[in-house]
């Protein structure tokens, strides 16, 4: 699978301030990649470097097989970009904006009319009269109307109501089925979970995870609830490797968090008891995301205490 997005040691500093540090990314053709991180983690900086709006401090990047250069224009013919914050020419109409952007791309977008209809957007109104959601719709139409090979979307449903969010993801899923590659930056984890096969998690400018979505979820947290036929206490599960946070809900029920590859040993251990019910629920992406950040917070806290002690 050839890489559509590839970065090696890509770093961006704003003076002394960190943007992203030593980012190694690889997104294959047709892949759907979710790029997760809280505000300020470096998601938008990464995208802007890939689109050559920001000059990388170190490293290199290739998009659609071509090296990213500050003056590269031909490359962007094949990319549809929806920025995190939508800024347009407020005095102009939506129609003017669509025609203006189409002028850079050699003509009207093949999907323009369809997108206008599906998103129920009125292009005759001036942009300053549009709500945040309608501006976002216009940005979506602009980004998608030329059926690009690579979609780079930065919080694409920001400001949209749930119905329109659903329409947008239907459209994105259709584009992906038609062969487009998706790079979706978001902190709305349910969106990423819905469409992405792979996910990267960025924290303070560094990529801290880059894994297949299903593997990531499968290997990470699971919420275990066990109902025993006889009374038990928390020590029944205590001491087992990778089983944490054991809580006794009532005389017969325990809950715990299972991490890592402990499932096999756990089931064998439980088989020695008489059970009435067992549920083992996979973690949501949100739980995984929080796990990464909680771990880092714990580590930082420990480091800080260590520092104080010395």
């Amino acid at each position: 699978m050839s890489a559509v997005i590839e970065t090696k040691g890509m770093s961006k500093f704003y003076g002394k301030h960190r943007g992203v540090i030593d980012l190694d990314l690889s997104v294959g053709r047709g892949e759907t990649y979710g790029f997760l991180g809280p505000n300020g983690a470096g998601k938008t900086t990464t995208i802007r470097c890939l689109l050559s709006m920001l000059k990388m401090t170190h490293g290199e990047a290739r998009v659609l097989g071509e090296a990213v250069t500050l003056d590269g224009a031909a490359l962007r013919q094949r990319i549809g970009y929806i920025p995190g914050e939508v800024f347009m020419y407020e005095k102009e109409t939506g129609r003017w904006m669509l025609d203006y952007i189409s002028g850079f791309r050699g003509g009207k977008g093949a999907s323009e009319t369809e997108l206008i209809e599906r998103l129920e957007f009125d292009p005759s109104r001036k942009i300053r009269e549009l709500s945040k959601g309608n501006k976002q719709k216009l940005a979506l139409i602009i980004g998608l109307m030329h059926d690009p090979e690579l979609l780079i979307l930065d919080e694409p449903t920001s400001g949209l109501d749930p119905l329109n969010q659903d329409v947008v993801f239907d459209i994105i899923e259709e584009r992906v089925k038609e062969g487009a590659t998706l790079f979706l930056s978001s902190h709305i984890l349910s969106e990423v979970e819905r469409v992405c096969e792979r996910v990267g998690i960025i924290r303070e400018g560094r990529l801290v995870a880059d894994e297949n979505m299903h593997e990531l979820l499968a290997r990470r947290l699971r919420e275990l609830t066990v109902k025993f036929a006889d009374g038990v206490d928390a020590s029944t599960l205590g001491g087992m490797p990778s089983v944490e946070d054991v809580v006794s809900i009532d005389a017969n029920t325990l809950t715990a968090t299972v991490t890592g590859e402990a499932v096999d040993g756990l089931i064998k251990h439980l088989a020695a008891h008489s059970l009435t019910d067992v549920t083992l629920q996979h973690a949501s992406l949100e739980d995984v995301f929080m796990e990464f950040y909680r771990d880092d917070a714990h580590k930082d806290s420990a480091d800080s205490k260590g520092g104080d002690a010395s």
Partner: protein, 265 residues
Amino acid sequence: MSWNLFKGTMHQRRKPLFWFSFSLVAYSWMMVWFWPQMGGAEYAELAESMPPEMIALFGDAELSLASLGGYFQTEYLGLMWMVIVAAALIGYAAKMIAGEVNGGTMELLLSQPLSRSKFILTRMAGLVLQVLLLSAATFVPIQILGPGYDIELTAKVFWLLFGLGSLLMLAIGSFAFMVSALSRDGGRPTTLTSAVIAGMWIASFLADVSDFADALDPFNLLSYWEPGKVINNGALATNAWWVYAGVSVVCLVIAYIGFMRRDVA
């Protein structure tokens, strides 16, 4: 150059450009219209009674205010005209680069298949077109309406004024363009260019009233702007062309290089 960007740029600047051009046409017509009343012996007497410092405030102290050239320089081309064209060009330069970065629309434009070089060269072409339009709005009405009010400028004088006026505007606009291309803040080109022009104007005034300040003249763009002498004598110092052209080229080259290397979002 991108024709689509050029059309879009002109579309977005159509209203300011119309009003600045309209103001210049109206002002030029008003100045031509007033000349028969102002050009008589009474005006000459009034002008000669003014202290040299006051005459210097409006233009060249060596110029006779009662002459056609002195009248145009003092009443129009030496001050008000410069204020109008500087406002037009600084506004354009500030809005078209730093304003786009600051306002977030640069991100939208440069995520399209539009190279940085095409972007800035097109915006430079827009600057040149505006300079030519403003120059035409200033000098064509004087040339066309003048004969009806005892003003006869030769074609040579007209073209000298048109050319030199255009180059002065280009130099001012290019400086503002350079500042805009290097900054993120839309207000900085306006503030800095206005301050530089105001400083030059003060230096010109001081040079007219004090020999000590003459040393500033070679570095002062406005010291080469002598429309009164062009109108009266039909000639101007050759170095004026080179100074204005040189400043314009240097500023535009710096703007180009700076813009090609900077962060635009």
